[in-house]
């Protein structure tokens, strides 16, 4: 009995100091899932087939958040004793080129750039409906070389027991679906869009 109480107390203490945080992607405050239509603040409708990106939480645990994989939306445990945490959105150059092939680095996950060692940091595919016209799009945003590196470290405010909200409307309303419906290479546009995505963490 004593052992059971000790175990329960330890578990409680663990949760007090190390909370589990879930990721919640939203469009205009509405939680997002794949294969659903959503209305953007600019009155576009948007439908996502694929949405995944890399995130590193404190203690440098890299995870691939994939809207198609519910389990990936639960972040690994990390200390929540402050109200803000430093997240890395995307991988830095070392992570891109270290040659690891296991876990989130597994090329099987579809993020590895075979032709140019490195990883896509954000994959986003879907359709925008604007003024009655549908525009399919597909963006593979990545690249680790300056000045177009697609990774940032960012302090994010988090409250105990609340999800990490990522607001997608600013990013999605800036997609150049008419002029550049596909981006598969690193460069200024991939960088610009990725930075718009990171604004959604604020």
């Amino acid at each position: 009995m004593f052992k059971f109480r000790l175990f329960t107390a330890s578990l409680l203490a663990f949760y007090l100091f190390f909370g589990q945080v879930n990721v919640q992607l939203t469009i205009d405050g509405v939680p997002v899932t794949l294969n659903q239509w959503y209305t953007q603040p600019n009155e576009d409708s948007i439908y996502l087939n694929e949405f995944k990106f890399y995130l590193a939480v404190p203690s440098d645990s890299l995870v691939l958040i994939d809207l198609a994989e519910q389990a990936s939306l639960h972040l690994p445990y990390f200390s929540l004793d402050d109200e803000t945490v430093l997240l890395r959105i995307g991988m830095d150059s070392v992570m891109n080129t270290c040659g690891r092939l296991d876990g989130p680095y597994d090329p099987l996950l579809g993020m590895y750039w075979a032709w140019n060692t490195g990883y896509t940091q954000l994959k986003c595919k879907g359709i925008v409906c604007r003024e009655g016209q549908q525009y399919p799009f597909e963006y593979h945003l990545g690249g680790y070389r300056s000045p177009h590196a697609t990774n940032v470290q960012q302090w994010v405010r988090l409250k105990e027991g609340q999800p990490l909200f990522i607001h997608l409307e600013r990013f999605l309303s800036n997609l150049p679906v008419k002029t550049q419906p596909k981006i598969m290479l690193p460069g200024p546009m991939a960088h610009l869009l990725f930075m718009k995505f990171t604004e959604g963490f604020q």
């Binding site: 296991d102 590895y112 032709w115 140019n116 060692t117």
Partner: protein
């Protein structure tokens, strides 16, 4: 008493040897060569890992329709290059846009492919396996096919100790074989080791090599691993910008990795697009600076080469001293299959 102790010690050492199946295979670093760049700590070589990689290298199971293996475009006797094809063909007879390079001394390479787009040997094999013009498969399918084969499942378990075959296991096994392809026993190497001497013509060719070629094809690996333009001009039909496709920089346009010259006699055709079928054509190209097409690297421009036919022959003689028959005919690199 002393004898009894020695017997016990010997038995103990024998037992230790028996229970250590992952005993590291030796990686041979030739005398005077730089330290290899490959991270062996991340993928310790073992005889079992080498044999597994060797079997995978020769197995068409890696391609979408099980028709094309790594060895289809990398044949041992031609220094693991693809002879008689300017650019290689893969599944469904699809033809790629680059000449399959020879595979040797990869442990020293800082990057791979003609454009240097691949930075790690362990990850390199993802390219040919998934490229639609090469093996045209996908990693999930390949892993599934391997898991279904008892011999492979057992071999992966023995080498990596895991019940499940993961991507990293597949790629590391292949790398165990390819990183072991060391060529360092040509006539040139034997001359350097003072085991034999060059003929007069070979010696003249060597002097010309040192004067005109060594700056880019630097000894002992016969490459400086840089990206250069060599005056052959763009290919008339293949749209290939080379290194700039990786860096996005205009200054890198139409530059390609300087290839090694080791075993060059056997690794025809030549250049990134395989436009020259004979080595003497390559030498003739370099021999006349006045015939070069733009762009030309600054190193080559400064050389302003002009060789007569005797000098071309001497250079050819020297390049043939880079042939390493012990490598090209090494039985441990030959076809091998784990499947009984």
């Amino acid at each position: 008493m002393r004898t009894a102790f020695l017997i016990v010690l010997s038995l103990g050492l024998c037992a230790l040897a028996l229970v250590d199946p992952k005993q590291e295979a030796d990686f041979f670093v030739p005398q005077g060569w730089p330290k290899p760049r490959y991270n062996f700590e991340n993928n310790p070589l073992s005889p079992e890992g080498f044999e597994l990689g060797r079997s995978l290298f020769y197995d068409p199971i890696l391609s979408k329709d099980s028709t094309v293996s790594c060895a289809s475009c990398h044949l041992q006797y031609t220094a693991f290059a693809h002879v008689d094809h300017p650019t290689s063909h893969g599944v469904d007879s699809r033809v790629g846009k680059r000449n399959a390079p020879g595979l040797m001394n990869l442990a020293w390479a800082p990057y791979f492919h003609w454009d240097g787009g691949v930075l790690n040997l362990n990850g390199q094999a993802v390219n040919p396996i998934t490229h639609p013009d090469e093996m045209g498969s996908d990693l999930a399918t390949v892993l599934l096919k391997l898991k279904r084969q008892k011999d492979y499942a057992a071999a992966f378990k023995k080498v990596f100790g895991a019940d499940d075959i993961k991507t990293q296991h597949l790629l590391k096994a292949l790398a165990q074989f390819t990183v072991s392809l060391v060529s360092a026993n040509s006539k040139y190497d034997q001359m350097k080791r003072k085991e034999l001497a060059f003929s007069d013509q070979e010696q003249r060719g060597y002097a010309l090599f040192l004067q005109y070629c060594n700056q880019c094809h630097t000894e002992p690996l016969f490459t400086n691993f840089k990206f250069k333009s060599n005056g052959i001009g763009p290919h008339p039909t293949l749209k290939d910008e080379g290194r700039s496709e990786i860096t996005g920089k205009e200054k890198d346009a139409l530059t390609f990795r300087v290839p090694t010259l080791r075993n060059i006699e056997h690794s025809f055709p030549y250049m990134h697009d395989g436009r020259y079928g004979k080595l003497k054509e390559v030498i003739h190209h370099y021999a006349k600076a006045s015939m070069w097409k733009l762009p030309v690297s600054s190193e080559l421009k400064k050389k302003n080469i002009s060789l007569n036919s005797d000098e071309e022959k001497a250079l050819l003689s020297f390049l043939k001293t880079l042939t390493d028959k012990a490598f090209l005919l090494n039985p441990t690199f030959e076809y091998f299959s784990l499947s009984k």
